[in-house]
């Protein structure tokens, strides 16, 4: 291979990509009727096949079909494919990302249950890929009951991304998630940690601890919530 050819290749290289993870979709035997899909009120997204070459479009359709078979929402997968096309990502990476996302949705559905909303599954899939384990996701569902788990999951994913160790982040979110108006409190935690994480290593965790302390929400305990616990003070800005 000549040097110029090698340079050309190198110039074209977008990430070759991480290898496939252990998660693959096991396609079950054909069913007589589809399983209950996630309940969602979202409008459907059209799969614009023209944005892909035919090989890739076929591969993607195969993945969408597999997802329907497994009772997974297809809309998030279509959106991922469209995002990849919009970013002009190489086709093989688009297919890999969509496939891995479908596998993550599959695990999310297992952890959250069949009647989860589509965006809960999305948030859980992202959180699982960020390193959260399934049991933590299940626990979140249990503690939230019928309330949406989207905000706790979004906040948790972000905290970890900013450098808060997983255990600390999980504990803080579980604790705050049980407070009234928890969504606002959790988003406040995210904003505070995000701002402080910029200052250097260790600042994210520090900010998390200070914020949780300031809210006055007691630590999560195994016992069910008692109705007469301390009122929650709004966090300091």
């Amino acid at each position: 291979m000549t040097l110029s050819a090698a340079l050309l290749i190198v110039a074209q290289i977008a990430a070759v990509g991480t290898p496939p993870t252990g998660d693959t979709i096991q396609v079950p035997q054909m069913r007589s009727q589809p399983v209950v899909t996630a309940t969602t009120k979202r409008s459907p997204v059209a799969f614009d096949a023209d944005r892909f070459d035919s090989l890739t479009a076929n591969a993607l359709r195969g993945l969408f079909d597999d997802a329907v078979e497994l009772g997974l929402p297809v809309r998030p997968l279509v959106n991922r494919a469209l995002e990849g096309a919009a970013r002009r990502v190489p086709s093989e990476r688009i297919v890999r990302v969509v496939r891995e996302h479908a596998a993550a949705l599959h695990h999310a559905k297992r952890a959250l249950g069949d009647l989860s909303r589509e965006d809960e599954l999305e948030a859980a899939a992202i959180a699982l890929r960020a390193g959260l384990d399934e049991r933590a996701v299940e626990a979140m569902r249990t503690s939230r009951g019928r309330e949406s788990v989207v905000v706790p999951l979004v906040v948790l994913t972000d905290l970890v991304r900013r450098g808060v160790p997983m255990a600390n982040a999980q504990e803080a979110v579980a604790r705050l998630a049980r407070a009234p108006r928890s969504d606002d409190i959790l988003l406040g935690l995210q904003a505070t940690v995000a701002k402080n994480a910029q200052r250097g290593p260790g600042m994210a965790l520090d900010a998390l601890n200070r914020y949780v302390q300031a809210t006055g929400v007691p630590p999560a305990v195994a016992a069910p919530i008692s109705p007469d616990r301390k009122p929650v003070r709004p966090p300091e800005p």
């Binding site: 995002e83 970013r87 990502v89 972000d158 910029q198």
Partner: protein
Amino acid sequence: MAADDLTFPRPDDLDDVHATFIASQLRASYDATPAHDATHVARVSRAVLAAAMHAPSGDLAATPRSRGVRPRWWWGAAAAALFMTVLTRPWRPDVAQRHADSALTSSASDSMGPTNEPIVSGRTSEEEGGTVRFEFTLPATARAVSLVGDFNGWDAGVTPMVRDRSGRTWSARIPLEPGRHEYAFVVDGQRWVVDPLAPQVPDAGFGPTNAVVVDIEGTP
């Protein structure tokens, strides 16, 4: 005798009567393929290493990583690409490579400028009737900024943003269904940028995006 001790043909093999024949043909052909001598293989390795040395950017061409380094901020796509290869993030050192095509991605640790004002910043707010207002501020004038997300097929042509008088803050208002949405900003049709302080969605192979949660019905 346990069932595991018996080797039953798998259903796949039974389906295709001729599978064994084809398999044996292919394996025989494989076995007939000559091995390459060590000189040839060594030559290949050297060629690969030589080509990689001239790579403009690559995992192994980057300077050695050190934990906790805070890079300086340069403006300009070329400088930003170099910047990205020396960027370190203690929890994801390998992610830096992926961000090379987004000059302003400041999931980086430092988006504060010399006067301690944020260089890139965004804001979302909910208005009446399920409309969400997105704001995005850039340090220098861009020609065009679009909002892209899972609500418009990530198409930069659908939701162009409007610039304010200062020329640095762009905004758009769109109706969004309740729940979680992902979004990003596209600057001058090419660079994908995220709001550094808004909740982020980690890179799953394309680059990071932001997430916003519009009030979900029934949530107290």
